[in-house]
């Protein structure tokens, strides 16, 4: 897992390697400085040699300056390396998410994907900086101190050999216990995000029903869970500080006891045993060794948190889209023919829970096809299979004579334009929203599409016209306006197949009729599939599909359907009776 992540360091490898190098040299300077300083005291001040002091003094200042310079360089490259690493991770994750099918997205949930891309990446970024910048210093200090203490007295240094594993074991236990808790807490974070997100988008419902306190309660419960989880985990982690103090103090007592005995036995002779001066140094080294261990352990804690996050990142990176291009895909759609052959579909890929059941259907290029049927009869599901938003569970769909799986997905979707039932506009200007359909659309083309979609008129009446900003979820437009903008956006693609999934439900009947007339006039060659509850919207279609419960129960002209399909007739009559009106 780590190996895979490291791959994404990429162009920041240089800084990632330079940082520890700078730090190493900086530490070396820090080791040199005390030695020089003791020389300064011993030879300069002790001997009262005033000429020696400025010489060594300047050298010392130079060392300090070099250390400063190296430190700054290290700090800079550490920042670049870690922030860059995080950038690459986010980028890779986002690329992968863009390839996700809806099945993939549902598996993770939107809020979880967001947490992974931000919070989790930040955790990894911090840990990474810690490792290359802060943590490098400790092992160097640790090893040099350990070496020095062995050099002074090997026997006494055995105390360290005993102490270090105890500390190490303790830290290991802490990390092991804390890790799963952190993993759990992060999962709760996803839930927190879900509650916030649903609250944000459903705020009108919340306010309508006065459910503010109910929502807060829901949030508090999750917040409480996070509190408990983090408390448990961080309480465990907080043990590392006293643990390390315990070991340090233990070492000092042991060294004092055994050290004193050795000194007394050998009569304070460094050559046969130990001197008092050496004892002092040993204790200083003991502090240094354990200090570096503590910093290492702090890094370890960071890594514990980061590993939970890293796992979540890798999960996202390794998720393969279940919709993939075939080998050597077709790059062009010849025409707008559509053919369903024994198509069945289930959202959960379960043959016992089919939404669409054995659909056979043939639509010729350029035809206008209406689809109608009761709520939940799988009309939307049917059309979403054509641009391959989902793969069929059984059977094959042919577009332009080839199976949809043979096409390059992008090519296919460029030629099959769907105006979805749930309109999504994005927080940018109208023009930018429209350009989703065609990045390079000229103003004329945009104008034409908007005229066809009967949107030009209201856009022109806005103070900033096409540059009006669309607020999140298009809250500053009425339902019908949003629908017309979405239709214009789809028209800009100039597709071979245009599918309107109940996209004029909030548009008044007159405008609706104008839109259909414009289609007839402007895009005669395009296959048009129109899903609608209004019979008036589909009545003039070449043929009408009547769906019920995932099956096609009739496929014919309006005139014939009135005679042959009782469901259709019933609906027609109910709408007619509504005051001959809805027509």
């Amino acid at each position: 897992m780590i190996k895979q992540l490291l791959k994404y360091i990429n162009q920041y490898k240089k800084d990632s390697i330079l940082t520890p190098i700078y730090v190493t040299f900086q530490v070396a300077m820090e080791i040199v400085i005390p030695i020089l300083m003791s020389n300064l005291i011993d030879f300069g001040i002790d001997n009262g040699d005033m000429s020696y002091i400025p010489k060594i003094g300047c050298l010392l200042l130079l060392c300090a300056f070099i250390a400063l310079l190296l430190g700054c360089l290290a700090g800079r490259s550490a920042a670049i390396a870690s922030a860059g690493f995080a950038r690459n991770l986010r980028q890779q994750m986002y690329y992968n998410v863009q390839n996700f099918s809806f099945l993939n997205i549902d598996k993770f949930s939107t809020s979880s994907i967001i947490t992974r891309l931000t919070t989790d990446v930040t955790n990894v970024q911090n840990a990474y900086q810690m490792i290359i910048f802060t943590a490098v210093r400790s092992p160097i200090m640790l090893i040099s101190s350990l070496a020095m203490s062995f050099y002074i007295n090997a026997k006494l240094s055995i105390i360290f050999v005993i102490c270090i594993p105890i500390l190490g074991f303790g830290l290991y236990i802490i990390v092991r216990k804390a890790h799963p808790i952190f993993t759990r807490v992060f999962r709760t974070y996803d839930k927190l995000n879900t509650v916030v997100e649903e609250n944000l988008s459903g705020i009108r419902v919340v306010k309508t029903f006065n459910r503010e306190s109910y929502e807060s309660k829901k949030f508090f419960a999750i917040s409480e869970k996070i509190y408990n989880g983090f408390l448990k985990a961080t309480k465990l982690v907080a043990l590392h500080m006293p643990l390390m103090q315990f070991c340090m103090y233990g070492c000092i007592i042991l060294i004092s006891w055994f050290g004193s005995r050795i000194i007394v036995n050998c009569k304070n002779d460094a050559s046969t045993g130990l001197s008092t001066g050496q004892l002092m140094s040993l204790i200083i080294y003991a502090t240094q060794i354990l200090m570096s261990l503590m910093i290492l352990s702090m890094v370890l804690v960071m890594i514990t948190i980061a590993i939970s996050s890293a796992k979540r990142i890798v999960e996202l990176l390794n998720e393969e889209s279940d919709l993939k291009n075939c080998y050597n895909p077709l790059q062009a759609v010849p025409n707008g023919d559509i053919y369903f052959e024994n198509v069945s579909f289930s959202y959960v890929k379960d043959k016992n829970k089919l939404c669409l059941n054995n659909i056979n259907l043939k639509i010729n290029s350029g035809e206008v096809i209406g689809i109608t049927g009761s709520t939940g009869s799988a009309k939307s599901t049917l059309v979403q299979l054509i641009p391959r938003l989902y793969d069929t569970t059984a059977g094959t769909i042919y577009v332009g004579g080839h199976s949809v799986r043979e096409y390059d997905i992008k090519t296919l979707r460029n030629e099959v334009s769907v105006v979805l039932q749930k309109n999504t506009l994005f927080s940018e200007t109208i023009k930018e929203n429209l350009k989703w359909g065609n990045e390079n659309a000229s103003d004329d083309e945009i104008l034409k599409a908007c005229k066809s979609a009967q949107a030009n008129e209201f856009i022109e009446s806005l103070p900033q016209k096409y540059d009006t900003f669309v607020e999140q979820n298009g809250t500053n437009f009425s339902g019908g306006q949003k629908q017309r903008l979405c239709i214009a956006r789809a028209l800009l693609k100039k597709p071979k197949i245009l599918i309107l999934d109940d996209s004029t439900s909030s548009v008044d009947t007159k405008t609706d009729a104008l839109i259909r007339q414009a289609f007839k006039r402007e895009i005669p060659g395009t296959t048009k599939i129109i899903i609608s509850q209004r019979i008036s919207s589909v009545k003039d279609a070449d043929k009408i599909i009547v769906m019920d419960n995932g099956k096609i129960i009739a496929f014919d002209k309006h005139e014939n359907l009135i005679r042959t399909c009782c469901l259709y007739r019933e609906v027609y009559e109910s709408q007619e009776k509504g005051g001959n009106s809805d027509e």
Binding site: R90, E197, S223, T234, S260, S374, K510, D582
Partner: protein, 627 residues
């Protein structure tokens, strides 16, 4: 945006700690104990050598029992130190988590009170970032940096006095040096804190972009927008990266600079002290005047290093502190957003009829009444009947862009009012004003003779049932989603509401029927089915006045006709506002109002309006004329 560290933010953060006064004073106590044990430990060495090892060396028969006793005593002291460290760390962690929870909860509760404008103008992902990325920044600062600062401050004060004890002159030098260092540090900090704030902002920006794109993923796919989405994401991502680099660059430089400055200070001290010693410059200290000896210089050096160490330790925490201040700044911005204004004092109460006059009753009843206070603090009650009057109402979402012009309407109790007109004519806006999602600019809306601005918002909304154009469900079971309308509803009541909304049939087909778990924006339900649920949700709330805004647009007409019957029965005697494009659903209304460009152009019954042959007639017969 100020580049300086915002001390108001810091002060407010401390306000949160204040709630843990007792715990926090314990923490301080334990920190002092722990630091004191650390100080004792460094003094112990000298005692060990001077008081034990040296005499023992002279003793031909060394007796170690005295040393053993002292060591055991030390062990005891150390144990106290370790325990103190243990306690303050654990208490501090629980304080930190408690504060984080409090801040999260405060934010969410406060957010619930914000006006819709806030939700319209902030991307959802950015707001979500407050709860995760910004709150997270506080953790390390409270749990680690704060104790570190206190412990350092304590150590430094102790050492400061010891230094004064040896030499005032040298101490003054140290002080000047520290002062200069602090100046430099605060300069760098200010510089980087601006970037840290930017970093948190762009993190929120990235969060917002991801959220919007993933929620609109279907559109992204349909339009093959992936590459462009990636391009735009890259731009935001790069910006975040740049801000993170700049922020961390400055703060990373701090630690090594502090360390090096510490060395420089020691070196200069040695040279100055050495010179003072060699030339026998008089040295003033707390106990009088003397000449610096080598031993004194050595111990002073030792002390000055211990004095500089905490500074560089604290400087390691700067990162987390500046990030936290940046995060906190955003959090407080959210907390400072102005809540929805609610000056209403008229409340809605359950009532019973007494001598023909409504009075308050504690029993649950179908009769509701407005409780209106007189000037002299007495109350009187008025039966809720559902009469709504618009008097010359003007309104615009922005000041420059008026959406509704001079709307006057009289809806009598129990009437069914239909709003028709082209898209964008202002139909939804009218209903948005009744429930005070937005407030009228000019004119007034009178509800049962009371200006709606005088009615408490929650009570006003309690009396209105609204089925909105866009259906929002929440993650949870179907049952929970229906019960959202009335938390006290029994299962049977929910099922009855579902039956009324014709949702019962499809719910029964679901794998776990009413207990099926649905995701808030999940695709397992069709748009029409979601609308049916939303109608059931409103039906279970059983409100006296109902607003149906395109409530049935995605439902097939056959189902709609059946629902209509149920709804009509339910709504009998209650005021209903209907917005619909299917004129078939509105033609039996008591009053039909035709809107055009924010103005009422026609008003009347179906019959009257058809006879008028105006706009309504055109809309009504539009399709005929066109084809």
């Amino acid at each position: 945006m100020s580049r300086d560290i915002d001390f108001n933010v810091v002060k407010r953060l401390f306000g949160y700690i204040k709630q843990y006064k007792l715990k926090f004073s314990f923490v301080l106590l334990f920190i002092i104990i722990s630091a004191a044990v650390g100080a004792v430990s460094s003094l112990f060495l000298r005692t060990l050598i001077d008081d034990y090892i040296s005499p023992l060396l002279l003793d031909p028969n060394p007796n170690f029992s005295g040393l053993l006793k002292t060591l055991l005593l030390m062990a005891g002291i150390y144990l106290v130190g370790v325990l103190a460290t243990l306690f303050y760390n654990r208490i501090m962690v629980s304080i930190a988590q408690g504060i984080l929870k409090k801040i999260r909860d405060d934010m969410f509760s406060h957010m619930q009170t914000l006006p819709l404008k806030f939700f319209d103008t902030h991307t959802h992902g950015d707001v979500m970032s407050y709860y995760t990325n910004d709150t997270d920044t506080l953790h390390q600062m409270i749990a680690q940096s704060l104790p570190q600062i206190f412990s350092s401050a304590f150590t430094m004060t102790a050492i400061f006095f010891t230094m004064l004890y040896i030499s005032m002159g040298l101490t003054l030098f140290v002080l000047i040096f520290v002062f200069v260092t602090i100046k430099i540090v605060s300069k760098v900090l200010n510089k980087s804190s601006g970037y840290f704030i930017k970093q948190q902002q762009s993190l929120g920006d990235v969060n917002g972009y991801i959220e919007e794109m993933i929620n609109g993923q279907k559109v992204v796919k349909v339009f093959c927008y992936e590459n462009r989405a990636i391009k735009r994401f890259d731009k935001k991502n790069d910006e975040l990266c740049m801000n993170a680099i700049n922020a961390n660059k400055y703060s990373n430089v701090l630690m090594p600079s502090m360390m090096s400055l510490g060395y420089v200070m020691c070196i200069l001290l040695t040279i100055i002290g050495g010179a003072m010693g060699i030339y026998s410059v008089p040295n003033i200290c707390l106990v009088g005047e003397n000449v610096l000896t080598l031993g004194m210089i050595a111990s002073f050096l030792q002390l000055s290093i211990s004095f500089a160490n905490p500074i560089s330790q604290v400087s390691q925490q700067f990162n987390s502190i500046i990030t936290a201040v940046a995060g906190a700044k955003r959090i407080f911005e959210l907390l400072d957003e102005k809540s929805e204004k609610d000056d209403g004092c008229v409340t809605l109460v359950s009532a019973k009829e007494q001598n023909g006059m409504p009075t308050e009753s504690n029993e649950k009843s179908n009769l509701l009444a407005w409780k209106i206070s007189n000037k002299d603090n007495t109350f009187f009650y008025r039966k809720l009947s559902g009469e709504v009057n618009f008097k010359n109402v003007n309104f615009g979402y922005n000041k420059s862009d008026i959406v509704l012009h001079d709307i006057s309407l009289d809806v009598k109790a129990g009437q069914k009012l239909a709003l028709v007109g082209q898209t964008g004519a202002g139909k939804t806006t009218i209903t948005n004003l009744i429930n005070r999602f937005y407030d009228v600019e000019n004119g007034s809306i009178i509800y049962d003779g009371i200006d709606i601005n005088k009615i408490k918002k929650t009570d006003l909304r309690k009396s209105l049932g609204i089925v909105l154009q866009d259906v929002n469900l929440f993650s949870g079971t179907i049952m929970e989603n229906i019960r959202y309308g009335n938390l006290d509803a029994t299962d049977d009541e929910c099922i009855n509401a579902a039956k009324l909304a014709r949702a019962h049939n499809f719910i029964q087909m679901l794998p776990q029927s009413y207990q099926t778990f649905i995701e808030g924006n999940g695709g397992e339900l069709s748009q029409g089915q979601r609308q049916l649920l939303s109608i059931a949700r409103a039906a279970v709330a059983d409100p006296p006045v109902m607003i149906l805004d395109e409530a049935t647009s995605s439902i097939d007409t056959r189902t709609e006709a059946i629902i209509q019957k149920g709804m009509d029965a339910l709504m009998k005697g209650r005021t209903v506002f209907v917005i619909a494009h299917r004129l078939s659903t509105v033609h039996n209304s008591d009053l039909i109002v035709v809107l055009d460009n924010g103005r009422i152009i026609e008003k009347g019954t179906h019959k009257e309006l058809t006879l008028q042959r105006g706009k309504y007639y055109q809309l009504y017969t539009g399709a005929f004329e066109l084809s």
